[in-house]
């Protein structure tokens, strides 16, 4: 090959690099390792983790069973090692699956259109806010305090330099739902979006219809955020929202210390052109066969550059495919049954603990630690190889002494009983 190119050594191909630019040392990294050693290393790291612990953590990342078919599908090289389907004629596989993903997200959320994926729920949220700002021509955003605290942090990072002030509004300390009065008070004619989450960070199902009505009265859009997609199998879909920004981690995506996950944005037909991210559309090929391709690319950075709806390029396609396979496996009946199991497990444990809020919840709930500190309870549980709930004081000073617990279909009764015991609850109840 060197002969064909006409150079003596590969090094000659780097002659254009000025000498002061060249790195002449050797990188200070260990020598290459064999597969066997690499597996050993990562297993050792994994063994430092929580293998064999039961867990009651949720808070945006849920411990659901991953059907085996999911990895069967995403491990196929044709999905794993392809890229964004620019060339439709040899990408119909991924294009079709994305079209199905978009459709199922619409069916779940009651929206008309969903994109091919966002990085995750936390980045989908500010993208939704910015989208609302573009649509309304307004530049103020109200976000409920019951939205995931880290999502709100990301929202602030994204919006702060775009002249989009973000203001928070309160939740009702009794019900745990948004404080509609506070929202109404803060809404003004320059508010682009009202952001709520349902089920919210406390696990409580919000009344989206009511929130939307309030927002719409002032001409603002309602953005509904979700972190627990399984809830969508059972709770009323947020059809009254204008934009839905969600996280699909619950759909066969392993917690993986926080990522990769798959976010999504869905919206009404009229707002399609303001959506960020890739979108797959249906069309025909030269023979008249149904075919799919990337579409409405004029929204995107590679065409529109500084005027694009977002800078997103690479998304989370393979992870969205996991969610797609998950939805196909569970299907209509299964997703509901799964949601009912989650609901039932959460009720079982919640029934034995002092609930902090009154409104209906899905599979997470806030309990107060009966005067003991959540950390103390968690320490007791850890000793029994159980990871307890998330202490909320750090995120909500007013909820110091409370923790957020999550039960899923994976929660075993014996472990739930152990949690109840650790709270000193009456286990015969």
């Amino acid at each position: 090959m060197l002969d064909a190119i006409g150079v003596q050594a590969i090094e000659d191909l780097f002659r254009q690099l000025p000498p002061e630019v060249r790195f002449h040392g050797a990188l200070n990294l260990p020598a290459g390792k064999s597969e066997y050693e690499i597996v050993d290393y990562f297993r050792a790291r994994g063994a430092e983790g929580a293998n064999g612990y039961a867990s009651f953590l949720g808070a945006g990342v849920y411990n659901h069973y991953r059907p085996v078919l999911v990895d069967t599908v995403v491990s196929r090289g044709e999905f794993l090692t392809s890229y964004t389907p620019y060339q439709a004629e040899i990408s119909q596989g991924i294009l079709t699956s994305i079209f199905e993903f978009q459709t199922m997200v619409c069916q779940l959320t009651g929206m008309d259109a969903a994109n091919a994926s966002m990085y995750d729920g936390s980045t989908a949220t500010p993208e939704a806010a910015m989208m609302a700002a573009r649509i309304t021509g307004r530049d103020r955003v109200l976000v409920a305090r019951s939205v995931h605290p880290e999502y709100r942090e990301v929202l602030r990072t994204y919006t702060q330099h775009q002249g989009i002030p973000v203001e928070e509004f309160a939740y009702d300390p009794g019900s745990g739902r948004i404080d509609a009065d506070d929202l109404q008070r803060r809404l003004d004619d320059n508010t682009a979006a009202v952001i709520v989450q349902s089920p919210n960070f406390f696990g409580i199902v919000e009344n989206i219809r009511e929130a939307a009505a309030i927002a719409h009265k002032k001409g603002a859009l309602l953005v509904d955020v979700f972190t627990e997609a399984v809830a969508l199998g059972l709770i009323e879909p947020p059809s009254d929202a204008d934009i839905v920004a969600g996280e699909l981690q619950s759909f066969a995506i392993s917690p993986s210390y926080g990522g990769p996950f798959a976010g999504v944005i869905a919206t009404k037909q009229t707002y399609i052109r303001q959506m960020p991210g890739r979108l797959v559309g249906q069309t025909k090929d030269a023979q008249g066969n149904r075919a799919f391709c990337l579409t409405l690319a004029t929204r995107e950075q590679h065409i529109r550059r500084e005027k694009a709806t977002s800078n997103i390029c690479t998304n989370q396609a393979l992870i969205a495919l996991m969610a797609t396979v998950f939805m196909a496996v569970y299907g209509k009946e299964g997703l509901r049954e799964l949601a009912v199991q989650n609901l039932s497990k959460a009720r079982y444990l919640a029934n034995r603990l002092p609930l902090r809020f009154r409104a209906p919840f899905f599979n997470e709930f806030v309990v107060s630690a009966n005067g003991r500190s959540p950390e103390e309870i968690n320490a007791t549980l850890l000793g029994r190889k159980i990871i307890g709930g998330l202490p909320l004081g750090r995120y909500y000073p007013e909820l110091d002494g409370c923790m957020l617990l999550c039960c899923t279909e994976m929660s075993k009764r014996e472990h739930m009983d152990a949690v109840a015991d650790a709270f000193g609850a009456d286990s015969s109840k």
């Binding site: 260990p30 390792k33 990085y119 199902v205 559309g281 409405l296």
Partner: protein, 512 residues
């Protein structure tokens, strides 16, 4: 002569929704070990949905056949060369898929006690250190989820540093050859964009740059090697010009596959940069993602990095949230951890020498292709190519054939096309990046194919214009798709009423 492919039967497959029949199911849940709750009782009727209309109802074998059949319609690295320029479509070692699924890692909850997360934290720390070493930078954040996200993070860091100096400034300079994410990022970070012209060697024109740099300029976003695959030879002078005016140099590291082990951005004046771990470090592209857009910075920028940061305390790792100058989070939790595991495994497998050798081979392969097809296609710039080579369709356009047509014809020859019509400064660009993991046999077949197509353009342009001819789906009508967007399936009755939209179709540009 097409030597690389033949045609073969390939299964048709309807959409999941069309495959459904009522009551079919592909799942079985464990028996509930607690009393079943009635949802309407528990949630209230107003909060409980009816069934999900149209949602799939299929069996387990339906699911596996559905997705297996679909998969056979895709091209992939596992099937052959995937020379999408700027995308670094290298082979993805399967060991990385194995380690990312190790239970203690794949099932680690981001909020589990730090005492039970030391392994995951150690991996993050090890990867940060390795990337700092490779880039010659001082510190690294792994929070961003992809390149563009890294860009946003980097420009917000720039803004934070400048703001801390008293003035965040107004604009970002972006060469006209830059990737679309660069200007889009600048906008998202609240800056205006000023384009910088490239010179006739495909590089930043230093004089134009000098004229553009003033106290309003926050940073230059430079890609190096740039998007025409050429090393910015004046990079140290360029950096000096920016620095002199108090502006920063942001490097888009998408093309770092040309530099690892050979040159370090930290040594040539870069203040902040991102790496695409899914490119240079081979975490699989997965049909469009996930990726990771690690950002590396100088010591000066470190205090502004997104919270939290890893800290060593008392012999173990802890997450430090006490960072008064942080720009804040750019993502919940700690980044695309599963992708980070894969990238670290890649670095471990290669070691220092293996990484350097990969760089050399990547550049060798690109130059080999360039040499073989240069007699048939117009090279965009004379300057030496690094890891990719960019041609123009000038000669073929004279016969009415454009880069997009050549790309479609390449499909018939058994290849995924190169990146089409990018960068924008090249008329009808063919942007070819083979990567180091291709062998000579595959490269020769590819060059033969391009040469054969060049001949077809002379002798029988129709065959190129109508390509592809051998795929199950013939040329796809993207214009109609954009004009009347159908972005979800509906039962036939409803679908008929979909509203039409008048939208200008996208250009023919495809990739990266």
């Amino acid at each position: 002569m097409i030597r690389k492919v033949r045609t073969h039967i390939n299964q048709n497959e309807p959409l999941l929704f069309e495959r459904s029949s009522p009551g079919k199911k592909g799942y079985q849940l464990p028996e509930l070990d607690v009393p079943a709750v009635d949802p309407v009782d528990a949630l209230g009727p107003e909060n409980t949905r009816d069934e999900i209309p149209g949602f799939p109802e299929v069996s387990e074998v339906d699911v596996i056949r559905h997705f297996t059949r679909l998969s056979t319609w895709n091209y992939a690295i596992d099937l052959g060369l995937y020379p999408l320029g700027s995308c670094t479509m290298k082979y993805n070692p399967r060991i990385n898929e194995v380690v990312a699924r190790i239970e203690g890692l794949a099932w680690a909850h981001p909020y589990q006690p730090e005492a039970l997360s030391q392994g995951a934290m150690e991996i993050i720390a090890a990867l940060e250190a390795a990337l700092a070493e490779i880039t010659g930078m001082h510190a690294v954040t792994l929070q961003p989820a992809a390149g563009a996200h890294g860009e946003l993070t980097g420009i917000l860091l720039t803004r934070a540093l400048l703001a801390s100096r008293g003035n965040p400034r107004k604009k970002i300079l972006v060469p006209d050859s830059a990737h679309g994410t660069n200007p889009a990022t600048a906008t998202m970070a609240g800056y205006s964009v000023e384009n910088i012209k490239s010179n006739d060697r495909g590089m930043i024109d230093v004089e134009s740059l000098r004229r553009a740099v003033n106290e309003d300029v926050a940073a230059l976003m430079v890609t190096n090697p740039n998007t025409v695959g050429v090393f910015e030879e004046e990079i140290t002078r360029i950096a000096a010009i920016l620095h002199e005016k108090g502006a920063l140099v942001y490097m888009d590291g998408a093309n770092m596959n040309a530099l690892v082990g050979v040159a370090r951005p930290g040594d040539f004046g870069v203040d902040v940069m991102h790496l695409n771990l899914h490119k240079t470090f081979s975490t699989p592209h997965g049909g469009g993602g996930p990726g990771s857009g690690a950002v590396a910075v100088t010591r000066e920028l470190e205090p502004f990095l997104p919270a939290p940061r890893l800290k060593r305390a008392g012999g173990s790792w802890t997450w430090n949230y006490d960072l008064p100058q942080t720009i804040g989070r750019v993502r919940a939790y700690y980044g695309n951890f599963g992708v980070l595991v894969r990238a670290l495994a890649y670095i471990m497998a290669h070691g220092a020498e293996g990484l350097r050798k990969a760089t050399l081979d990547a550049v060798l392969n690109a130059n080999y292709i360039r040499k073989l097809i240069e007699p048939y296609y117009q090279i965009a710039y004379d300057a030496p190519s690094m890891h990719e080579c960019v041609f123009s369709d000038d000669r073929q356009a004279a016969r009415g054939v454009r880069t997009g047509d050549i790309a479609k014809r390449l499909i018939d020859y058994g290849f995924h096309p190169y990146t089409v019509s990018f960068p924008l400064i090249v008329r009808g660009a063919l942007m070819i990046e083979p990567t180091e993991t291709e062998g000579k046999q595959e490269l020769d077949l590819f060059c033969d194919a391009l040469i054969s197509i060049a001949r077809e353009v002379e002798e029988n342009p129709e065959i190129v214009l109508k390509a592809p001819h051998s795929t199950r789906t013939s040329r796809v009508d993207e214009v109609t798709a954009a004009r009347k967007p159908i972005v979800r399936w509906k039962p036939e009755s409803e679908a008929a009423q979909a509203p039409a939209e008048a939208i200008t179709p996208a250009t023919e540009r495809a990739g990266p």
